[in-house]
Amino acid sequence: METYINNYVIVAIFIALGIFLPVAALTFGRLLRPNNPIEEKYTTYESGNEPVGTGQIRFNIRYYLFALMFVIFDVETVFLYPWAVAYNKLGLFALVEMLIFVSLLVVGLAYAWKKKVLQWNSI
């Protein structure tokens, strides 16, 4: 049990160190880098032109569809992992169960495929 907790202490140390490095580097950099603010420097880059309209433009609905597909299949992997770990103890029955589950999702994938969700046609 102690060993188990200690492994996560190490993870916590890694997280702390991972946050510390960028914070320290950027704070240290403040002492070194010049600070010469000119109004034009703070405009948004748009190939040298004055930015037109708002930067947070409307983007393609496809991104949302892909996100939706991702959620479905990522949840599937959440079920596949424990199944794979315990497979040797579960045997043939678990294989059939998982085949049924995955084939249901594959039907969903085939439907999305047929509906041309997976086809990327603009930016």
Binding site: N6, V9, V11, G29, Y45, L109
Partner: protein, 336 residues
Amino acid sequence: MNLLQDLTFSSFMWFLSGAVVLLAVVLGFVTYAIYFERKVIGWIQLRKGPNRVGPLGLFQTVADVLKLLLKEDTIPRNADRFLFILAPVIAFVPAFVVLATIPYTSLLQFADLNVGLLYYFALSSISTIGILLGGWASNNKYSLLGGMRSAAQMISYEVPLVMSVVGVVLLSGSLSLNTIVEGQAGGFWQWNILPQFVGFIIFIIAAVSELNRTPFDLPEAESELVAGYHVEYSGFRFAFFMLAEYVYVYAIAALTTVLFLGGWHSPLPFLDFIPAIVWFILKFLSIVFFLFWIRATLPRIRVDHLMSLGWKVLLPLALVNIFVTTIVIELIKYFK
């Protein structure tokens, strides 16, 4: 290790100093991986690569980092200041934290988590949020499109990436990376790359895509999106996005070694006298070289091809691989 038995102040200090040493090693790796990458690509393209700063150009990356450190830090007026500052940190932290569970040899491992593999994938997907945030917070059209594209690509390839290793988990019956390597002892014919060759191919393709490296570097497609999600980033904030990418190169190369190439085990039993860590480093470096090699060789693929490849080829193939593996396991069990 005795250190893991109970948590005292001295063992805590050991963990801390170990983590600091690893951080130094990783930063050193990144410095020379960038140098080596530029050299290798130079050689492949019949150029010399960096050769001006220091002997053989060895200090080129150091000079580049110092230059970035001395650059003025500009945050665009229209940017969402808080998220803009937060994004590179969110992209970098998981890249480093996943390294906690990589086993280098049977004794040299920081955190032997029993859910090691899941931990790796769960944390590495957080970096997507950092990239998306960077693109959104910049309030720039190029950044936004680059960030969205990057997120779409990374989530599309995460599914086949995660599924391609289910076969490995089935063979070893564990998510602990240490146990997975132990199961591959006794020569190269025991390595997972042979029974899981399809899984290995899917894993490598999806991993390169997760790293946003050529031929899948569409988020940074210079010819169409200037630089993608980090158009507005400069100086050290930009450096952290780059650092995150190269730390992931380290992580993915180490993970490939562990999952498919037998970790620290020697390819032939009579070569066991060579220390385990040497084998690990050799395999690790060949994967790193392979990543640089394909970057120099392959052209960038088109965005619609990229998405179709992920969803229409790799995902079904990964699913088929899982079930073929299971059925073969069942057959072997049946005929034994």
